[in-house]
Subunit: 584 residues, 2 copies
Amino acid sequence: MTRIFNDPAVFAEEALQGFCELHPNQVRQVDGGAVRRHRPAQPKVAVIPGGGSGHYPAFAGLIGPGFADGAVVGNIFTSPSAQQAYSVARAAESGGGVVFTYGNYAGDVMNFGLATERLAAEGIRVENVIVTDDIASAAAGEVDKRRGIAGDFTVFKVMGAAAEAGAGFDDVVRLGRKANSLTRTMGAAFAGCTFPGADTPLFTVADGQMGLGLGIHGEPGLHDTELPSAAELARELVGRVLAEAPVEGGSRLAVILNGLGSTKHEELFVLWRTVSALLREAGHTLVLPEVGELVTSLDMAGVSLTVTWLDDELEQLWAAPAETPAFRRGSLAGAAAAGGESTDAAEAAPDEAQASAAPVPASSEESRRFAQHCMSALETARLTLHEAESRLGDMDAIAGDGDHGRGMVRGIDAAFDAAVLALDNGAGAGTMLATAGDAWAAKAGGTSGVLWGGGLRAAGESLGDEAAPSPAGLVAAAQAFTNRILTLGKAEAGDKTLVDALLPLVRTLVDATGNGAAPQAAWHEAARAAASAAEATAAFIPKKGRARPLAEKSIGTPDPGATSLAMVAAAVVDRFTTTNAQTK
Amino acid sequence: MTRIFNDPAVFAEEALQGFCELHPNQVRQVDGGAVRRHRPAQPKVAVIPGGGSGHYPAFAGLIGPGFADGAVVGNIFTSPSAQQAYSVARAAESGGGVVFTYGNYAGDVMNFGLATERLAAEGIRVENVIVTDDIASAAAGEVDKRRGIAGDFTVFKVMGAAAEAGAGFDDVVRLGRKANSLTRTMGAAFAGCTFPGADTPLFTVADGQMGLGLGIHGEPGLHDTELPSAAELARELVGRVLAEAPVEGGSRLAVILNGLGSTKHEELFVLWRTVSALLREAGHTLVLPEVGELVTSLDMAGVSLTVTWLDDELEQLWAAPAETPAFRRGSLAGAAAAGGESTDAAEAAPDEAQASAAPVPASSEESRRFAQHCMSALETARLTLHEAESRLGDMDAIAGDGDHGRGMVRGIDAAFDAAVLALDNGAGAGTMLATAGDAWAAKAGGTSGVLWGGGLRAAGESLGDEAAPSPAGLVAAAQAFTNRILTLGKAEAGDKTLVDALLPLVRTLVDATGNGAAPQAAWHEAARAAASAAEATAAFIPKKGRARPLAEKSIGTPDPGATSLAMVAAAVVDRFTTTNAQTK
């Protein structure tokens, strides 16, 4: 269990603060994460890993010469927001471009993708290197569906060393992708982990059992099996990893035997005894193997074995010196003396708050009055989500990581606060909703955060700040909301996501309006359609868009994303049509 | 739970093997533990920490330049044997003498004490620096009864740095004792840890509770309390540690915030946020604080806060460079270049097996025949202890760490094997028993190992190899066995140890013999007295010899050490008198 915390909602922020407080000479906290205390004096490619919290030393523990330039730090097991990624990149960028690198999870891909667009639009060269080392998470033929786990460490290390040595932007990206293509990881979990403040673990493994290939957030693995002996476990892990040896792989290996949290060093050493023997028996040379906690999952019990097949250039980078709060290799004395560092450059880092502030566009009196109604709708959504938080969390814990309720609450709270501020500053309805959407995406993180945030911004842009919308204008805004979510999330009907509730809602709205229904009736009908569709997701078997089928137990449970969408729609439609009717 | 293991009985050995396999350039496995791969080329003081396994990185993880010269590695939570300490010291000694250093536990004090005697007898300068930082384990007026926990790290580090810098023997000892006198630790546990192969934890803390001051092997602490918030926990730990600030302490502190196993880095960072603020508010400067896992307890959940008040010389040593498998500070490049190292010296290390081998002294035919009866007695003891192993473990788990059964089995097995070998080599009864005792002490470790081993050796020496003993000779051997145990263990009647059964046994034996009872009757009476006395320990309240009163629940349970002694006595007396009678 996670037992040391204050307010669970700010656990990740407080952990980051404590971490930065502990290492003031190595890291500096910035909005969204942390960066090196000293910017390189010379332009260099900035290597910026990131992801949810709970995986220390991944990701902030790896900031320093020879490794990462900064780290984007999300909430626990939740993707950081695009705003966070943008902000860290701005603070770490030193003239050579930015390479974001992270494990392959939908929320991370979306959020880092959005930050990439924004940075690119501002003229910064930026690329994404996505880690897909977990061989248990999808078949060998679907490598791009595989998740990223402890192989993160090798891929980040290779890129960090390359960038430190002065490699160009394209080379850093090429080397990172090569390292990923030559890296395989197989994990096993013995027991789940518990979020701060939660009474029960996020998931469990039955006593005396082991979940082979279980993900670092409890994602479904290959199968459960009886807890093997250390020697048998070593054979299982080594056998499966070597069975996927890349065609171009040689005999020299970088190896990581990684503990997930409450599996301790002594146990890892017992396991390593056999793992190392088996790898050597198979004719391999082990280059600077690492045994310890490199990518953890709070207090989860479990291990993973990562192998990277090295060629000459990868081996040099794997062996290169590095010096971070959590990892040191060799000595950088020479490198530091040669490269030099500039504290002034660090102090001159742009203020992220300023970078994201923007003047409020002009708006009509009418739009500002309509914005008051939107404000009421947001307030209703907020009450609804606060009330439903724990129920949504419970639903999500069945198939996901149990954070949907908390994520939605964080999002709506941030959206509401931003909307209040925008309204005070004279924003029209469109700007107010767009700003609220940005805040939602920035503060909630995760997949739902980027989708709701993006949807609200699109709706706001569709509404504009000039007039109160006509009934058709409101339908157009709903369509804009939907289209943005479809584009961002790439989910389709039947994937068991919020899209399963959203599509029926909009379709019903458009059909009812086309059939001449009064706006109020059409919206009510649409909300009812969303509610039934959300309930129906309980019977769905997902078709695609996930690395592998959901756990069987999740099939009988409605999707929490579809449920929260339907709930918010019903509540807002009720309130919105009521207040609208009163003022008309 | 500890889940990765093969045979639980060899967990510690396999972990040590895996560890040494992983760091071949830094450490070398030797009988009893590990030493630096390269001996210093110049004579230096060898700083050798040690203790039970399960505390990684303590103790083997701290071997390397600027820190330890070697580490004595016992079984899990069990003191290493005197033979192990001797062997590691022999392998690490490089002309400057040996400083053993360890936490204040009875088994460690005895075993390192015996190794000290042996080394001193061989002309090696040797001292012991015993760490007593745990302020929860005894009152401030009884510092020498306090246990050693994470303060180990600071004390070892200071001595390691001093020795590396060329300090003389007396100076290293003085600095270690000064560091200990200025170090205070307060711990808290949230959940127990589980031995490899055990179904249940060694101890538990009720859900939602915290055991304040609980020891790293589950020893009783101050009291249980509701699980506080991180900020409250920080206030509790800081308040209690600062309340014991040494009179001579200044304002500069070395600080360790230590995780015990399944309490993770992110939690420690959240806690550190308040701990560091409180220490600074109290006017202190934090010098190179360490937050992480430095002295663990398998997968125990919990933390401890260690503060060392630094003066100028201690601060310099705390900040000095070090380079070990588990801990690096600064850079030793300069030091290594200046000091030089010699692989040849390491290769020339004495073979420990040879060092402990000795020719078998001459023996009479009669003594060798009597040795056959002793062999039968050992065999009986062995069967008895194997059968009782789990029951003795359960009894021990109530007041101790649950390893008494396993320790006794390891001991008798080793003693039996050694006795068989000695008999094959023509040893008489005295040498056979003495050799068996040595093997018991060497393999079992812990307190009971050194006591039984020492007692058997004393009995053997009393018997000699020249003749079969008279009834009076057997009584004298029993007295020698008892006296050795009293001398080694320093326990008295009523301390709830094996002495509580041993003293009545010998007293009854002597009295019955004096009253003219036949030897067989006297021995039976003595064994019965031991059995009743062992049972009576259930009603005892311990008077002394322990840092603090036993947990209340242990008062109604017989002492496992007294019980095993009585059981063995009864079984051996039965068998011995039977076989003796048959052959007479």
